[in-house]
């Protein structure tokens, strides 16, 4: 296998969808070829980066009333929608407290994101000076976000603990699994950052992971009880 063959198979290799024979050949080539190893590392970094992009963008305004209006004018759904009506579930005090903590997290994150962007595009200019400033802002952002994250996480987990008996086993299973996956990702990134403290990408990836976990826990805490 030459480098051209390898590059053609790289996505599938990283994907884990190559045949055993091809996989072996790729692995063998990677052993001996530093530039293909570098290409592989970039494919993996891209995958990790894409997976960590923030995905919780909220619509600017509430679209539910429009949907309800469209449903009511829709012959397919007429008669079925609104067949059962009852009062909404209301939040408990503890949830409100956790939600307040979240507002703090997200505003800290937002403020620092802006600060960081300004620092990155500020007058410090390109080259080493700009890089050093970026590291400082990112690191500062991370340490503040980490504090807020840990507080919000603890609070939300405590809320969920009191609600465990009112949630279905299926819901709990999904929830526990997701908490485990995000915790793993956070731990891996923390380890990577400890090994490479100057890394420019990791702090913002970590902040994103924090946000994802808090977002998920908040949703779980707001779920209606079963039955």
């Amino acid at each position: 296998m030459n480098c051209r063959d390898l590059v053609a198979r790289l996505d599938d290799f990283v994907d884990g969808t190559l045949s055993a024979a091809d996989r072996g050949a790729v692995a063998l080539h990677l052993e001996i070829c530093p530039s293909c190893r570098e290409a592989e590392a970039r494919v993996r970094a891209l995958a990790a980066g894409a997976a960590m992009l923030p995905r919780a963008i909220e619509p600017a305004h509430d679209l539910w009333p429009d949907i309800v209006a469209r449903i009511q004018g829709d012959t397919v759904t007429q008669g079925r929608f609104g067949a059962v009506r009852h009062p909404r579930w209301h939040r408990r005090g503890a949830l409100a407290a956790a939600a307040a903590a979240l507002v703090v997290v997200s505003s800290v994150v937002t403020t620092l994101m802006v600060a960081r962007r300004d620092a990155a595009t500020g007058p410090s200019g390109p080259g080493r000076a700009g890089t050093a400033a970026g590291v400082t802002a990112a690191t500062l952002e991370l340490s503040q976000a980490r504090g807020s994250y840990e507080a919000a996480r603890r609070q939300l987990l405590a809320v969920l603990e009191t609600r465990r008996s009112s949630l279905s086993p299926a819901t709990l299973k999904v929830l526990d699994e997701n908490v485990r996956i995000i915790d793993d990702a956070v731990r891996q990134m923390e380890d990577a950052l400890a090994r490479d403290p100057g890394n420019q990408e990791l702090p913002s990836l970590l902040v994103t992971a924090y946000r994802q976990e808090i977002d998920m826990l908040q949703r779980a805490a707001g779920l209606p009880a079963r039955g």
Partner: protein, 196 residues
């Protein structure tokens, strides 16, 4: 390149809410909407890069959910179903865009120009290293969609092909070229085809 974190669609929804929603319970349907509005909207924004289109996709997705949830069996995942509805509504938007490579009439074999730059400006100079977010914005519709669905949402080429009305080999070749383009945007000047 499989996503290593759960997509934001991994929202736990209890089966009681689903059962109530299937019976047409308005509060349960709204609860579903609240659980999925951000993931659906975010996905639609990612795929269409338009606030307006994303809002349409969110509305159309939930109209479809309200219309069809009574047929939802509960064996597959509800989140998976809603996500698929959202993807197909977003692809429909893209197909209606003039000159979109998703238009049925275009051949499957796209030129590099189709993949090259989206509507977000000229190529970066070799000195400018853009972040992933910016780089994704510079890809064409087709490249961005294939990357997002495959790398982030974790769909297989067969699934992407079925949703986009193309073949799996189309999805595969678009992904390879989109990756190459993305890597070029992220690390300009790094040689893509090395040694031997």
């Amino acid at each position: 390149m499989t996503a290593v974190t759960p997509t934001s669609f991994a929202v736990p929804v209890d089966e009681i809410t689903v059962a109530r929603a299937r019976a047409g319970d308005e509060a349960a349907l709204e609860a579903l909407f609240r659980s999925f509005e951000a993931p659906v909207y975010s996905l639609a924004r990612r795929l269409t890069r338009s606030t307006h289109d994303a809002e349409d996709v969110l509305q159309e997705t939930f109209l479809e959910v309200v219309r069809s949830i009574h047929r939802f069996r509960g064996d597959g995942s509800l989140a998976g179903w809603i996500r698929k509805v959202a993807v197909s509504k977003a692809l429909m938007k893209l197909r209606r865009r003039r000159g979109s490579a998703f238009e049925e009439t275009l051949p499957e074999d796209l030129s590099d120009d189709d993949l090259a730059l989206g509507p977000y400006g000229p190529a970066t100079s070799a000195a400018e290293r853009v972040d992933l977010e910016t780089a994704l914005g510079r890809l064409s519709d087709v490249a961005r969609v294939v990357i997002w669905l495959h790398d982030v949402e974790g769909y297989s080429h067969d699934e992407i092909a079925a949703m986009a009305g193309k073949t799996a080999s189309f999805s595969k070749s678009q992904l390879a070229r989109a990756h190459a383009r993305l890597r070029e945007l992220l690390a300009p000047g790094v040689r893509e085809e090395p040694c031997t």
